[in-house]
Symmetry: C2
Subunit: 355 residues, 2 copies
């Protein structure tokens, strides 16, 4: 079956007008669809981006960045931000490559369509006026024929039943009238024939040249529109497809980051950060007050406490926070223990007694 | 370097408490992060789904589904809905596999951590009380030694410068007192030695058994936490990676849909839908009123107009809508032309004159 609108749909002007208008409506609807799709991508990207930002460490504390789990999380956030950028690019491409292009194209299409249907109406007006011309000349011919006929009747009747001179003059006059009417009818017949030929020529041109050409243009326009829709749908899928490899790379990077986590290394880091370097306290030694009864323990222990505490401040004892008194008295004890072997101290110790 | 918390960080109780607490904070922060990520995916999915729904044809009009471009768009929307489902599944997996799991795990971890640090404090309290015991017995020994010393001085002084019987009795009494004090000092010395040994034993156990064991448990706990963070990060990336192949298939399907568009086929469909099957009107024939002057055109044309118009209603003329009068008069004309060869009609035509 032929699918040429010019020949097959010659009498479907109104339906073609409706159909092509529906096509343009769809084009606008599809453009709106892609626009909304791009908006969704954009808001998604915004959310992802702000999520990444929200969880990114405000200021990278030195003791954070040395832990593998912390570094891995930072890397994940980095990749997440990359994903956001991809989505933003996608939205941008959809708007630039599809929405803007289709909007522009739709305007062109509307203009083209309008001009085609204007041509159609012009052709129609022309054939209509040609028809009116034919009608009027036909009616004139009909009227003239009737008048000529009536004049002939009158003339014949007078000829039959009158013999006087006066009556002969009447019949002569009637015959002249009849002849004039006959000539008039002959004239309008020529007119009629001319406009009949003109109309048939116009009508033939209308249906076999003008309408086919105009409708063919409308069909081409429609096929280009459909072709364009197809292109738009392809670029939509293509634009999204382009994102996939990058997304895939981001996810690989996230996976690597996760796999780079080393618990052992991290707990070793904790040792490096917090190790004091001191050894746990040794045994407390016995103090034989019975052997050195002249000494004043309290003074001697007091003497060196401050320096002692400064040197060992919060180092010997893990629970120092809760045991000020304990630590104090203990360091005092430790103090005394080695006072035993320190001659410098013994000098001091004896002084209170030497005066 | 050893990375054993029990031996290296024996005096860093407070810092380990801070560090492990920070680790749990991070665990909770990460869980919240994944939750928000899932929420974003869910809202994205909702938007995509409603977009697909919004543009899906309300009721599939018969004359829509026969056009390839229309079918292609419907397929695109279908795939878009599939993408939304994928995103919803992703959000669901993130919540079920990561958020819920980590929330549960964090609670367990908090409980475990609490018990470890409670053990630490218990050990600390024990060594503190052991120390107090040592202190008091040491002070007692010190005091008793002083008193014994003083008593000895008194006794010696009396012996030197008294010879009378009464004075001899005093000196005897003083010597007895000195002996008693000496014995008391001897007792508290034993006490002191006992608690000193007890303390040194406790202290050794504290730093070389209890603390190492407890801190080792804390380190194991910390390493399990970090291991768990790593697992969570892997599952996050994995869950997203699972989506990619499906997304890819959806995009392929969209591409196929776009490529299935055939403009030619669609315009042929338009022909099938709207073709009337009639041929364009032929030439209008000449009507010779001069040859049939007896006839009354108006009546005869009027007679058959209704049937004629019914048969040819809006078929011969594409522009009929705009040309009621024109079409009417034309069918009237066409009517007259074939009245010429219709004997049935001519009979009728003559009747008005025959009566």
């Amino acid at each position: 079956m032929s699918c040429n609108w010019g020949t097959e749909l010659w009498d479907q002007f109104d339906n073609l007008e409706k159909h092509t208008s529906w096509g343009i409506d769809f084009l606008e609807r599809y453009t709106k669809f892609v626009k909304e799709r791009a908006d969704i991508e954009l808001s998604y990207a915004k959310q992802i981006r702000s999520l990444s930002k929200k969880y990114h460490p405000k200021r990278n504390r030195e003791d954070e960045s040395r832990y593998t789990w912390f570094v891995a999380f930072a890397a994940t956030l980095q990749q997440l931000n990359e994903l956001a950028i991809q989505r933003e690019d996608l939205a941008e491409n959809l708007n630039a490559q599809i929405v803007c292009e289709l909007t522009r194209y739709t305007q062109e299409l509307k203009t083209e369509r309008k001009s085609h249907f204007q041509d159609g109406r012009r052709a129609q007006q022309h054939i209509e006026s040609s028809w009116k011309q034919l009608e009027s000349s036909k009616r004139r011919f009909e009227r003239d024929c009737k008048e000529a006929e009536r004049a002939q009747h009158v003339s014949d009747k007078i000829d039959l039943d009158n013999k006087t001179d006066g009556e002969k003059r009447c019949s002569l006059k009637a015959r002249q009238t009849a002849q004039q009417k006959q000539q008039a009818a002959e004239e309008s017949r020529k007119d009629y024939v001319t406009s009949l030929n003109q109309f048939n020529q116009d009508q033939h041109q209308h249906y076999h040249t003008l309408v086919p050409v105009i409708y063919q243009r409308i069909q081409d326009m429609e096929e280009r529109r459909i072709e364009r829709i197809g292109e738009a749908m392809r670029s939509l899928a293509e634009a999204e497809r382009k994102v996939l490899p990058v997304v895939s790379r981001c996810l690989d990077a996230m996976m690597e980051a996760a796999e780079s986590i080393q618990p052992r290394k991290d707990t070793r880091q904790v040792v490096e950060v917090y190790k004091s370097g001191f050894d746990p306290p040794g045994d407390v030694e016995f103090e034989d007050y019975s052997a050195t009864m002249r000494r004043s323990i309290s003074e001697s222990s007091y003497l060196d406490n401050r320096t002692e505490e400064r040197r060992q401040s919060r180092k010997l004892w893990p629970f120092i926070r809760k045991t000020k008194v304990y630590a104090h008295t203990h360091t005092q004890g430790a103090d005394e223990t080695h006072l035993e072997e320190s001659p410098g101290c013994t000098q001091v110790l004896f002084s209170p007694f030497s005066c």
